[in-house]
């Protein structure tokens, strides 16, 4: 059965800095399947543009306005009118508080500015599917915070019950690697990684990779 054909991802970019905005437009359009249909320098123009153009994904480039400038408000405003349009935040600030605020406001992804164009494009595809995406570099800090908030308590099974391959995958997962990165590292297919992950969730009695990663982090500290 052939997989369904997809049309181009129609992208809208909000960024207050002209040079950064133009850079994002040029870089993202290098991918044949991405088309930037509009851009704006501020929230108001952004929301109007999104109303009119109905993009598939919005990039909110945050943080050039200084430390106080946050993208959470922009994300909230867009989500208030267009809850189904995925929003990806790209920011030089990677503090937990900022990331959490953006995600709490409804952002579907958060990336630091240090990423390369391949990574950005890959995340745009993921976000376009409505999935939540965090850059791997942000995950360990967030997991540690989660651990602190839960007091390190867990009712889950010990990761020692896992096979060697499952342990390898859990370890990679706790370092924030994506399924694809784990697959590439272990020279196995993405579907095999996903199948191992399903077994890991079952054995650890968890429902998400974050919970599984949390157990891995807790176990590492024991």
């Amino acid at each position: 059965m052939n997989k369904p054909l997809k049309r181009k991802i129609r992208l809208f970019i909000i960024c207050s800095q002209l040079l950064a905005r133009e850079g994002l437009i040029l870089l993202t359009q290098q991918d044949e399947d991405i088309k930037v249909i509009g851009d704006a320098a501020d929230d108001e123009a952004g929301v109007t543009g999104i109303d009119t153009l109905q993009p598939d994904v919005v990039i909110v480039a945050d943080g050039w306005g200084g430390e106080d400038c946050s993208c959470a408000d922009t994300v909230k405003k867009i989500k208030a009118y267009h809850p189904h349009i995925p929003i990806l935040v790209v920011s030089p600030h990677v503090e937990n508080a900022r990331v959490q605020m953006a995600l709490a406001a409804g952002a579907n992804g958060y990336l630091p500015m240090g990423i390369d164009i391949d990574e950005l494009v890959r995340v745009l595809y993921t976000v376009n599917r409505g999935e939540l995406t965090l850059h791997p570099s942000l995950l360990p800090a967030i997991l540690q915070q989660l651990e602190a908030e839960t007091g390190g308590k867990s009712t889950a099974t010990n990761p020692d019950d896992l096979t060697q391959r499952e342990s390898d995958i859990l370890s990679a997962l706790s370092r924030g690697l994506t399924d694809r990165e784990i697959a590439q590292q272990l020279s196995i297919s993405v579907r095999t990684v996903q199948s191992h992950l399903a077994h890991i969730y079952e054995k650890l009695h968890v429902h998400s990779r974050t919970e599984a990663a949390l157990i891995a982090v807790q176990h590492k500290h024991e």
Binding site: N2, L5, L132, L146, T178, R180, R191, R209, T210
Partner: protein, 234 residues
């Protein structure tokens, strides 16, 4: 913040822009039973003694996008792959397969290879041999300018010509070159079989220098864990 608990981090699905021209391709999304893997061998044009062969890579890109294997074995040395140094890899790999895999769920498995046949002729009849080798290289260069579509490169006729030229060249280079070429072939086969053992039941596309294709197909056809199919049927 338990709101993080529902996060997914799965990698993106493939965006296939245009499958027109490949209506015959049937993608089986389910793997075989776990003991055998579906494997297809796709011959690609290699660089000629370090000289990049200029040809249109779009058909190859389209084809690989249409096939979407789980694993794609390529002729890259592990050390080069890990260090990100793809300078020694042929254009087809460097400019098409690697960029495609970076954007999709296809996983690259480096299986070694990329051995130049430039070993030097023996002193005794270097002049004649060098002339002959140049003629053969020239013929290959001319043929690659015309025959550069995946279907043509993988046709029986072209494979036969490729094998013949390759065998002639190896004979001219001598026994050492022949042995080395065979060693590389054996390493590639060993790495492919290791991959199939490590992750059975997957759809595996082996992209290989067209000069090795016929030999590799013959070897894989004899392997019980391999369900060898045409790349259009992977």
């Amino acid at each position: 913040m338990r709101s993080f608990a529902g996060m997914k981090f799965s990698s993106p699905t493939l965006s296939v822009k245009d499958l027109a021209g490949y209506p015959e391709i049937v993608i089986t999304t389910q793997p075989n039973d776990q003991s055998t893997s579906r494997v297809a061998v796709l011959g690609v044009l290699a660089d000629l003694h370090g000289e990049a062969v200029q040809y249109d890579l779009k058909p190859l890109r389209k084809l690989i996008l249409a096939i979407q294997p789980d694993l794609i074995c390529v002729e890259i040395q592990w050390v080069d792959w890990l260090s990100g140094n793809l300078a020694a890899a042929p254009r087809a790999i460097r400019e098409t397969i690697v960029p495609l895999c970076r954007r999709t769920d296809m996983v690259i498995i480096p299986v070694g290879g990329v051995a130049s046949m430039e070993f030097g002729a023996t002193e005794a009849d270097r002049f004649i041999k060098i002339r002959l080798i140049r003629v053969l290289n020239g013929l290959q260069r001319i043929s690659w300018a015309v025959v550069n579509q995946p279907a043509a490169v993988n046709s029986d006729v072209y494979s036969f010509c490729c094998n013949l030229t390759c065998a002639l060249e190896l004979n001219l280079y001598g026994k050492t070159a022949k042995n080395f070429w065979q060693e590389v072939n054996d390493t590639i086969l060993k790495n492919i079989l290791e991959t199939l053992t490590r992750d059975p039941g997957r759809r595996v596309l082996v992209t290989i220098d067209c000069r090795r294709r016929q030999w590799l197909v013959k070897q894989l056809a004899q392997t019980p864990m391999v369900d060898l199919v045409h790349y259009n049927e992977l």
